[in-house]
Amino acid sequence: MIEISALTKRYGSLTVLDGIDFSVRRGEIAAVVGPSGAGKSTLARCINLLERPSSGSILVDGRDLTALSRSQLRVARREIGTVFQSAGLLARLTAAENVALPLRFFDIPHRERVRRVGELLERVGMRHRANHYPAQLSGGQQQRVGLARGLVLGPSVLLADEPTSGLDPGSTASILELLSELRTELEVAVVLITHEMDVVRTVADTVAQLDHGKIVERGAVAEVVSRSNSALSRALLPAPPAAAGAGAETWQVRYEGTRVDPRWLSAIGRELGADVALLSGLIETVGGQTAGRATLRIETAAPDGEISAAFRRHGLHATRRADEQPAASGLAGAPDPLAAPADLDGAPAADPDGSPAAEPALVRSAA
């Protein structure tokens, strides 16, 4: 396993990583997400020790890599495999030679090298392309070879730096599936650096969001997704945009409980005696749990409290959300400045499709 603590990296007066704490167990995939410039690539370069951290420690199986000398470090690197963005295969070496490269660095005998390379190429489904050069392989195939190369020394940690960037959806899915299988088979701790939330939802066990060199939010993916409207939660499972014009009867619903009866939509309609229209929705299995967000229109005279309570009984969390466009013009000048910070739970601070400032006020005036 890998344990990173208080990892800090400065370039002169610029602090790129600021006290990162982070650990990944064997067989676990930990995703690190964040906008570009958040420090993701610096973190990656610190983990495989292409950059020396300014302070803090990186423990791999209990050994602090930051304390090692150059020659000790070279040997310790066997424990950390790297899968590079766009594979980073050497253009003048065949697939097999690329996979064999790390073995050459450690003077592994020819016979052993051939066996190991064959095994790994077989495992990633690239044995039939062993003698092809990278230019003759598709992006997905290149990344399979890259994965084999990252694992060839039998590392305990695999660093995957944007392994699916630039791949088509089909290749992305197959690479992620392979990654997921391999971490279980080889019991490797995977640090997955990515900016693609689909990748995190599909394959990661835990997620940490990096922003301005700090981890601002983290948790098990399944738990983060069902978390009260946090930025990371919304980014991981965004509510798809709903049809416009639903007016004040629009409600935002989020899966909260771990067991939600999939028949909740008709059940709630019955309980409230109202017509319930599904305007948009996204329901997925994330980390073995069902998670989802939906936008509904509920045509009822029932009070808000009653409606919320009905949802709560089904393990859902619901908030009334006025459709901003027509409502905003109808309530010009009405927003109460006090309302904005007070209404916390439901009102998204920066909903992807909402106007952040007006929204909380509208929720209130509509209520």
Binding site: N48, T82, S86, G88, L101, R104, F105, P134, A135, L153
Partner: protein, 224 residues
């Protein structure tokens, strides 16, 4: 002399041309071995002391970079005259093929070093990182990553360098270094021997074309 301003009979041309061709080949061959032997490590050193290299070192980089620029900043004729004392010291003479080798090498080494440095710099950064990240030593990284990936660029540079050295060997003809340049100047120019002149020109054009063509073919076969 002007009375002798008749050209060598065509049948006699080969007997003059072939030895000269041999001298040019010998000069360029010897010089190029020296150039590769010293220019390659110098190019690798320039790259690896740069901020992107394996052992960034501002001071050392500035020094080796300065040396490489110095060798390229003088016109060859001026360089040849400048280094006469050094030539005398090293080979014991200031005329002939042996004397030409010193200034030609001094011009060729920095030229080749820059070509090598450029070829390595063209490698995408991620590929350079692969070596270190998977536990290569510096020497292994240079050999198995930098030089392997840069090989097509280095070969292209080699062709360029050979052509430049053929040109310099002709200029070195002025200090009696022999070869095609010497022949062209002494017979063709001084004695108005148009047959020799034309033969030399044709031969030089053909040689340069062949070197470039071979270089290009080789580069293509190295790129996969």
């Amino acid at each position: 002399m002007s009375a002798l301003a008749t050209s060598t009979a065509w049948s006699q041309v080969p007997s003059l041309l072939l030895p000269a061709l041999g001298q040019t080949a010998a000069m360029v061959g010897i010089v190029m071995s020296i150039v590769v032997a010293l220019g390659l490590p110098l190019g690798v050193l320039i790259f690896n002391t740069s901020p992107r290299g394996l052992a960034p070192h501002q001071g050392l980089h500035a020094v080796v970079s300065w040396i490489a620029n110095l060798g390229r900043s003088l016109p060859f004729l001026v360089l040849m005259a400048t280094v006469i004392p050094l030539t005398q010291l090293v080979v014991g003479t200031t005329i002939g093929i042996k004397a030409a080798i010193i200034p030609m090498s001094l011009a060729g080494i920095p030229f080749f070093a820059r070509l090598v440095e450029n070829a390595i710099r063209e490698i995408p950064p991620a590929r350079l990182d692969v070596g270190i990240a998977s536990g290569a030593s510096r020497l292994q990284t240079i050999r198995r990553i930098q030089l392997t990936e840069a090989l097509p660029g280095i070969v292209a540079g080699l062709a360029l360098n050979i052509i430049a050295m053929i040109e310099y060997s002709a200029i070195a003809g002025a200090i009696g270094a022999g070869g095609l340049g010497y022949l062209a100047v002494n017979y063709g120019y001084e004695q108005f021997d148009s047959h020799i002149m034309i033969s030399c020109i044709v031969l030089l054009v053909v040689i340069v074309q062949v070197v470039q063509f071979t270089g290009d073919r080789l580069v293509r076969s190295l790129i996969h």
